[in-house]
C-alpha cells in the first residue's frame, strides 16, 4: 500500500473516531437531570435573552440528531457558540488562551523527551548504581501527580527561594516562558519518569539481542553500537508512547494551570466546569481530543519510517 493511501485511510479512521468523540461530548448534556435548557443555563436567571441564545445555539426544540449536526456544522465553521459565563464567543476565549497552553505543553514536551530518553539511555547502558538511582528516581516520578509536583515546586522555588514567579501567565514571549518554567517542570515530571522507564526497558531488551554482540564483534565503537543499534531499535517502542504522552500533557494542563494560575485553556476548563459553562467545556474537550488524535496520526505515520519491518497498512494485524 502506498504511503498516501495509508495516510488517507488513517485520516479517515481518525475522522470517524473524532465524530464519535464529538457525539459523546455533545450527548453528555442529555445525561444531566432536568431539561437541557435548564442545565445549560444552570440555575442562572432564565432571561428571555439567555434562553434565546441557548436555543439559537443548540436548537433544543429540534430532534437530537439534527441538533448535533447543526452544532457540529457550526464548529466546522470555527463557531464554538457563546460562553454562558463570559458572555462572549468561545472561539475568542480559546484564541486568547490557547497560546499559553500550547507553549506550556511544548516546553513540557521538550523536557519529557530530552530528559526521558537521556535517563533511560543512561540507566540501560551504565547499569549498577547509576541504573538503581534512575530506577528509584523514575519510580517516585511516576508516583507523583502533576498537581502535587506543582504545589511542591511552587512552595520551594517560588515561595521559599523566590527564583520563579508563584503564578500568572506573564506578558510577552520571554516573560511567558519565564512564568511557565515551573508549570512545565511539574507537568513533565510524571511523563519523564514514564518515558525513561519505557526507554530503559526497551534498550535493555535490545541489548540482549545477538546483532548487538555481532556489531561489537565487528569493531563498531561502543557509542555507535548503543546509538545505531540499541537506541535506534528501541525507538519504535518508545514512539508508541507518543500519543499517551501528548494526551496526558494536555489533560494535566488543567491541574498545573489551576495550581499556577496560568491563563490557558486548562484553567479555563476548570473554571467553566465549576461554573457549569457547558459550551466552553464542550469546545475545550473537543480541542483536546482533536489535538491528541492529530498526534496519534503523526505517530502512526512516523512508525514505518522508524521500523521498516512495519509494512504500511499491516498495522492492524499487529496492533
Amino acid at each position: 500500500m502506498s504511503f498516501l493511501r495509508f495516510a488517507a485511510r488513517r485520516l479517515a479512521e481518525m475522522a470517524a473516531t473524532l465524530v464519535g468523540a464529538s457525539f459523546v461530548i455533545f450527548g453528555a448534556m442529555y445525561l444531566a437531570p432536568g431539561s437541557p435548557a435548564s442545565f445549560l443555563l444552570a440555575g442562572r436567571s432564565a432571561s428571555p435573552e439567555a434562553l434565546a441564545a441557548v436555543n439559537a445555539q443548540y436548537h433544543l426544540d429540534e430532534p437530537f440528531l439534527l441538533q448535533y449536526l447543526r452544532w457540529a456544522g457550526q464548529i466546522l465553521h470555527g463557531d464554538f457558540g457563546r460562553s454562558i459565563t463570559y458572555r462572549t464567543d468561545v472561539s475568542r476565549l480559546l484564541a486568547d488562551r490557547l497560546p499559553a497552553t500550547l507553549l506550556l505543553v511544548a516546553m513540557a514536551l521538550v523536557l519529557v523527551v530530552t530528559l526521558g530518553l537521556l535517563l533511560g539511555w543512561i540507566g540501560a547502558v551504565r547499569g549498577g548504581r547509576t541504573d538503581a538511582t534512575v530506577l528509584v528516581g523514575t519510580t517516585v516520578a511516576v508516583g507523583t501527580p502533576a498537581f502535587v509536583a506543582a504545589v511542591l515546586l511552587q512552595g520551594l522555588f517560588a515561595v521559599r527561594l523566590g527564583w520563579f514567579p508563584t503564578g500568572g501567565t506573564g506578558e510577552g514571549f520571554g516573560s511567558m516562558v519565564w512564568h511557565l518554567v515551573l508549570p512545565a517542570v511539574a507537568l513533565a515530571l510524571y511523563l519523564t519518569g514514564m518515558l525513561a522507564r519505557v526507554t530503559r526497558a526497551a534498550m535493555l531488551d535490545v541489548l540482549g539481542q545477538e546483532h548487538v554482540t555481532v556489531a561489537r564483534s565487528r569493531g563498531v565503537t561502543e557509542y555507535q553500537v548503543i546509538r545505531r543499534h540499541v537506541f535506534r531499535n528501541a525507538l519504535g517502542t518508545v514512539l508508541t508512547t507518543g500519543g499517551l504522552i501528548v494526551s496526558t500533557l494536555l489533560v494535566c494542563t488543567v491541574l498545573v494551570e489551576t495550581a499556577f494560575s496560568v491563563g490557558g485553556i486548562g484553567q479555563l476548563l476548570e473554571l467553566s466546569t465549576t461554573t457549569k459553562d457547558f459550551p466552553t467545556v464542550q469546545a475545550i474537550s473537543l480541542i483536546m481530543v482533536g489535538l491528541f488524535m492529530a498526534v496519534n496520526l503523526i505517530v502512526d505515520l512516523l512508525h514505518p519510517l522508524v521500523d521498516p519491518r512495519i509494512t504500511l497498512g499491516a498495522r492492524k494485524a499487529t496492533g
Binding site: 545477538e210 554482540t213 555481532v214 565487528r218 569493531g219 565503537t221 521500523d307 521498516p308 519491518r309
Partner: protein, 321 residues
C-alpha cells in the same frame, strides 16, 4: 606466521565448578581451513569468539590467544577494535538474528570499517564484496527482512570480507539455513577462502561437513580438545571414542544400514567438577583408569599429525562401523 595460535587456554566463568575451557591448544596456519567440531556446550563457540576477544562478562582467562602473533587477551580497547575491523572477522550462525533488522544492509556492510575509508570508497568496497558473494549491488539499499536466509548469510560473509581479514571465524554458519542454502554457503566459503587467501576456522557440530570442507579437524568435548588430525585420516579412523560416536551419529551416504546411533547420556554440567576423562560416563570403552586419570592429548602411533586424549586410543575405531 601462524594466523591463529591458541595455547594452554583456560576460561573460567563465575559460579561454575570447572573451567569452561580447560587448556585448549589450537592453531590455524595462513590460508588453511580448520574445523572445530563438538556438541553444543562443548566450548567450541567460546573458543572461536575468544579469537575476537569476545568474552562473556565475568570471564577469567589463562594462556594465550594469538592472532597474527598478537595476544588478543591482553589487548586494549583500541587494539581489539583494530583486530575486529581488520585482521579477523566472524560469520555467525543465524544471519536473521545477527544483522540489525532496522538498518539497511549497506550500513551493515560499511559500519565495520569504522571510518577507515571515505563513505564513497566504503560503499564501493561493499558493492565489490557483494559481487564476490554473488549478490547484486542493489542489496545495499535493502533491509534484512527483504532477503532470504541464504542471501542474508551471503551478506554476512561479504561483511566479514570487508576489512580484508587474515582470519575468518565461521560459527556454525549453515545451521540456521535450509538444506540447499547450506550447500551453497559452504561452497561459497570454500571458494572465497581460496580466492582471498584467508585462514578459516569453521566451527560446526557436523563432523561430515567438517571433513568435507577442512584440511584439519579439532574435536572438542567439555572444554578440551580430545582429538585432532588431518580431516581424512580422522574421518577414516577416529582415535577417540567420542569422535567415533560423533561419526556414528552423522548421516553418511556410504554407511551400510543407514541407522544413526545417538550418543547416550549428556555432556557434563558446568556445575560439577570433573575427575578422570570427561567422556568416561558416556564411553563404551571406559575402564577404572578412565574414571581416575584424565588422559593427555598425545600423538597417536607413528602419525605425527594425529593426537588423541584417550587411554584406549589404540582400541578405538578399529572395528568401527
Amino acid at each position: 606466521m601462524t594466523t591463529l595460535a591458541i595455547q594452554a587456554y583456560r576460561l573460567h566463568l563465575p559460579n561454575t565448578a570447572r573451567p569452561v575451557l580447560a587448556g585448549v591448544d589450537l592453531t590455524v596456519e595462513a590460508r588453511e581451513t580448520v574445523a572445530l567440531v563438538g556438541e553444543s556446550g562443548s566450548g567450541k563457540s567460546l573458543t572461536s569468539r575468544s579469537a575476537l576477544g569476545l568474552l562473556p562478562t565475568g570471564a577469567g582467562t589463562e594462556g594465550t590467544v594469538r592472532v597474527n602473533g598478537d595476544d588478543v587477551l591482553t589487548m586494549t580497547g583500541d587494539q581489539l577494535r583494530a583486530l575486529r575491523t581488520g585482521t579477523a572477522a566472524m560469520i555467525f550462525q543465524d544471519p536473521r538474528a545477527a544483522i540489525n533488522p532496522l538498518r539497511r544492509l549497506g550500513d551493515f556492510l560499511t559500519e565495520g570499517l569504522n571510518g577507515r575509508l571515505a563513505a564513497g570508497a566504503a560503499t564501493e568496497r561493499a558493492a565489490e564484496m557483494l559481487d564476490a558473494v554473488g549478490l547484486p549491488a542493489s542489496v545495499l539499499g535493502r533491509y534484512p527482512g527483504q532477503l532470504s536466509g541464504g542471501m542474508l548469510q551471503r551478506v554476512m560473509i561479504a561483511g566479514a570480507l570487508m576489512g580484508d581479514p587474515a582470519l575468518i571465524l565461521a560459527d556454525e554458519p549453515t545451521t540456521a539455513l535450509d538444506v540447499s542454502s547450506q550447500a551453497e554457503v559452504v561452497a561459497l566459503l570454500d571458494d572465497l577462502q581460496e580466492r582471498f587467501g584467508t585462514a578459516l576456522l569453521f566451527v560446526t557440530h557436523d563432523l561430515g561437513l567438517a571433513a568435507a570442507i577442512s584440511d584439519r579437524v579439532y574435536v572438542m568435548y567439555a572444554g578440551r580438545i580430545v582429538e585432532t588430525g588431518p580431516a581424512e585420516a580422522l574421518f577414516n579412523r577416529p582415535r577417540h571414542p567420542y569422535t567415533a560416536a560423533l561419526l556414528a551419529s552423522t548421516p553418511r551416504p556410504d554407511a551400510p544400514g543407514g541407522r544413526l546411533a545417538a550418543i547416550e547420556g549428556r555432556p557434563p554440567s558446568l556445575r560439577e567438577a570433573l575427575t578422570g576423562c570427561p567422556f568416561a560416563p558416556r564411553c563404551p570403552l571406559a575402564t577404572f583408569l578412565c574414571t581416575q586419570q584424565e588422559p593427555a592429548l598425545l600423538a597417536v602411533e607413528a602419525e605425527s599429525a594425529r593426537r588423541a586424549a584417550c587411554h584406549h586410543s589404540d582400541r578405538t575405531g578399529a572395528n568401527d562401523g
